[in-house]
Each structure stands twice: as C-alpha cells, then as structure tokens.
Symmetry: C2
C-alpha cells in the first residue's frame, strides 16, 4: 500500500467531515435552530444579556476547530451500514458538545488549571471560572436536547441518549477523569492505567461508533459488538501513540512541549514499555481493529482511520 497517497485522500475526507461538523455545530448554537425561537407565542429569555453571554461561552469552545475524529468515526460507521447521514451528523454534534464540555471542565483551576487549549485562552480565562463552569454544564445539557432532534425513530433516539449518557457518565468518561485526577498522587499498575484510558478516552470513542450504528437503526448485538471491539482497539492504540509522541514527538508539530507528561509525573505507557514495545502493541491493536471491521462491506474508511491514527506524528 502506498501509505502517503492513501492518507492524502483520507485527510481530505477527514477535513471535509470536520467542516460539516463545524457547520452543523454552529447551526445548533445559533438562533436559526433554537427551538424557543421557533415558538413565537411563547415567552423566551433568549435575549437576556447573561443568556447571550452563556451561549457565547458555549460557542467559543465548541467552534474551535479540531480534527473531529469522533464525528468521522460516527459518519463512517453510518455510511458503512447504509444509515441516515443527516441523523449521524446530529448525533455526532451531540457527542462533540459532550467532548467539549469535558475539556472546559478539565481545564478549570480546580482540575488541570490550564491557560491554553489549541493555542487559544481556555474558556475560564475568557468567561471567568463560573462562566466556564456553567458553559460546560449547558453544553452537556444541550447535547441531549440536540440528540432528540435526530431524524430517527424514537426507539433509536432513546438508545442514543442512553449511549451518550453511559459513555460520558461515572462508569465511562467521568470515571476516567476522576481516576486520572486521583492518579496524580500515585503510581498506577498497567491494569489501572488501561482502565483509566478505557474510561477517559475509550468510552467516548466507543460511543461515537455506537451512534453510527444507531443512525442506521441497527439493533443487532453482533454488529454492535464488532464495532465496539474495533472502537476499543483504535482507542487503546490512539492512547499509546499519544504517550509515545508526547515523549519522542516533534514539539513543533504537536504544538506543545515534549515530555510534559513525564515532568508532571503522569502515568504513561512508557513507564511499562520501551518505545518499540509500545509501538508494537499499538500496531497489533490496529491490525486487530482492521481485521474486525474488514468483515463488513464498505469498511475502507474505518480501515484507513485505524491506520491513520497509528502513523500520525501530531
């Protein structure tokens, strides 16, 4: 396979989905969508200055670009299964809002106390701590409202709400954030480190894949399990590559200082494996993911996604 050539086209596809996602997110955060604007006879507080400020704070962090890997995953699974792409995009937007809220809350002074995110001041640096707290809360809340507007059967929407909640909740992403915070004061075992990442980043990646299935109104445990297994494997490989890039990557490409995790005593896979062992593990996971998903017709984009995430240098 001529990797660079294939990835050139893949990167175009990825950028196109990112653009679609950004556009849809802007729509959901605008007055064009707002359900309250569509009910002219109902009293609305949408013009209150503090409400406008809150919406600004929500949009500031949501519409900040990014590769939009999760939406790409949702849409690719949807396309492979012949689902409703418009509905997949709606569900992907809901998940991006949840992902965004988690970054806003993680950046707060009481958690990571970060001043910069993707080269811009973090939400609380612009809107104050309470503003950022509420903007995060509002994005999490609004995600579920957006999900209910997906053009799917009510059965599929209920499943999507449950998938979003389970993925983001205390046995999923939030459990991972709590574990990560507690881990700053101790050394984790390899099992604990895997559990942390399986919750903190793995859960939402699996949710993204699950939402793709639901946008095709799929209710087949076998397909769910395959897609889930694929998503778990690429999520795990993603995290290993992240740790390797953080130690050995190009700081100019990454846009951050190399070795920052090691400096802050963070637990990484390189505590347990050499660089080569770690990359071999990531390769094996990627190969298994590719094998799992290759059983389905139209899985080319999912195969490329897995391979792309393995070879990335930023």
């Amino acid at each position: 396979m001529n990797a660079s050539c294939d990835f050139a086209q893949f990167e175009k596809d990825l950028a196109s989905v990112a653009e679609q996602t950004e556009h849809a997110l802007a729509y959901y955060l605008s007055r064009d969508f707002s359900p309250l604007y569509r009910r002219p006879n109902e009293s609305s507080h949408a013009e209150e200055p503090s409400v406008l400020k809150l919406v600004d704070a929500m949009a500031y962090s949501t519409l900040s670009g990014g590769k939009r890997i999760r939406p790409y995953l949702t849409l690719s699974v949807c396309r492979m299964l012949g689902g409703n792409e418009e509905a997949a995009l709606t569900l992907a937007c809901a998940l991006e809002m949840i992902h965004t809220y988690s970054l806003i809350h993680d950046d707060l002074p009481c958690v990571d106390n970060d001043d910069l995110r993707r080269g811009r001041p973090t939400n609380h640096k612009v809107f104050g701590e309470a503003g950022a707290l509420f903007a995060g809360d509002a994005l999490l809340t609004y995600a579920f409202e957006v999900a209910t507007h997906a053009r799917l059967s009510s059965d599929a929407i209920v499943s999507a709400v449950r998938a979003l909640s389970e993925g983001a909740g205390h046995y999923g992403m939030l459990g991972g954030q709590m574990t990560d915070m507690d881990a700053e004061q101790k050394e984790l075992s390899i099992e604990e480190l895997c559990a942390l990442h399986d919750m903190k980043t793995g859960a939402l990646i699996r949710t993204a894949a699950r939402l793709g299935c639901l946008s095709a109104e799929i209710d087949d445990v076998h397909i769910f399990d395959s897609i889930d297994s694929y998503a778990s494997d690429i999520g795990y490989a993603f995290q290993i590559v992240d740790d390797v890039l953080d130690r050995y990557g190009d700081s100019r490409l990454l846009g951050k200082n190399i070795g920052s995790d090691a400096q802050s005593c963070k637990n990484t896979f390189l505590t347990f494996f050499s660089r080569e062992e770690a990359m071999n593990r990531a390769k094996a996971l990627t190969e298994r993911a590719v094998m799992t998903v290759s059983a389905y017709e139209g899985s080319e984009n999912l195969v490329l996604l897995a391979q792309y995430l393995l070879q990335r240098n930023k």
Copy 2:
C-alpha cells in the same frame, strides 16, 4: 376551609412522596440498578476506587432529604391524569438529580462559595472541588440515562429527555444561574428579576409538571398549557414567599440567618414591593393557579400544594 387540618394530611402525603423518592434515588445510585452490573459478560470499571468515590459523592448530595416538592408535583399531575406512577417516579428521580447537581455546582467556591447546605458540609467540603465538579457533572449525565428507563413509550421518553434538557439548559435553569451571578454586581429591574426567577427556579418547576403529563402519555397542547401555567404561577409565588421569609421569617424554622440576601446585596422582590404588596401578589398568583387546575377532576392535591406553598413559614 380548616387549613391546619387539611395541611396535616397534605404534609403526610408530601412526606410519603419524599420517602418514595429517596428510596427510588437510592436504588438508582446502587448496584442493584446499575445497568453495567446487569451485563455480566461486559468489562466494567464499577469497582475502580475512584469510580466508587465518585458514586459516593453523587449519593452524598442526592440522598440528603429535602421536601421533594418537584417529585410531589410530578406525581400529583400524573395521578390527576391517570398516568403511570412508577414511570412518574423514575422521571421525578431524573429531575431531582438535575436539581441536586445544580446545588453542588452553585455551592462551589467560584460561584456562591457555600460551606453548608441543609446543615451538612457542602459537597466540595467533603470530596474536594474537582470531586464536587465531577459529581455534579455525573448526576446531570446520569439523569438522562435514568429517564430512558421510565416504563413509557419511546415517544414519551424522547419528550421527557427534551423537557429535562430545555428546563435545565441555557434558556432555562442555567440561564437563570448565569443571570443571578451577573446580577450580584448590579441592581435589576422588576422585569429582569422576574426573568431571573422564571429561569432559575421556575423552569424546573414547569419541567416537573410537564414530566407528570408525559408519564400519562399526554400529548395535548391544551393540557400542557394549563399545567404549565399552573406551575409558572406557583413557582413565581414560591419565590416571592421565599424573599418575604428571608427578610421577616423565623431564623430557627428556616435554619439560616434572616436578611442574608439583603446583606449580600441580592436583588429581591422586597426591593420593589412592601411585605403586604408582595404577599398580595403571591396570593393572587396562587388563586389563579388554583383556578386553572380546578378545571380538572382529581386536582385536589395540586390545589393543596399551591396553598401549602403560600402559607409555609419555612
């Protein structure tokens, strides 16, 4: 009407619903319910120490008693409309989780910086700021999962998810919290004060009533509007009485210092009205609420609820 006699029975009913709610909330936060415990073949992180700590923090604030006015409202509307009481209780629990999360986040140092809530240390005093932040996030997230487990049609569940999200979101409760925070540095007009309360406390009271309708699978705009109007009126009256009690009430009964709002320069209805004018306004709102709901057979409990909230002294 012999008020004290009627309210004795009413208070028993209220206490009984509060007990039912507490019991159901404990169930939803226990391993007996947890969906992940019911899927034995799936990997689960429910035993991770940090996850257990997060669930403890969620339960600490959720299972702290309280009058449970909102669940009483949801169940009373459900009973009046002949709905499914078990489903109403499930939806009421989802709403109580959202109400609880909002208290946890409001108590945080970056918002109100409160050390005590209902006579106990606030969540962040026990679990740390980040722990309280994540516990609040987890309750908000889990509320939507719990709602999907109501034994209702998927159509009704989708409507319930939307009602919860709209009531708690940036045009509802969170818009009110943001407005309240911004209002600490300025004097509000009476219109702005009404808008603040209509969002901050009114929105969730209307949501509680709406959930009662949905638990009866009601899809009739006329009934929705009546119940909504009733809920708006009792919510507004509730807030006026709150402001009057805060200035003139019995500190021993209220469990807090009298005049605390005035001291912290908070905008209250007593900035605009005398005590008598304020209580007359609350009475007029209560009478209108009673009139609206009396059109329905079986509305006795809703009538009593409106009257009870008007005459309360704590």
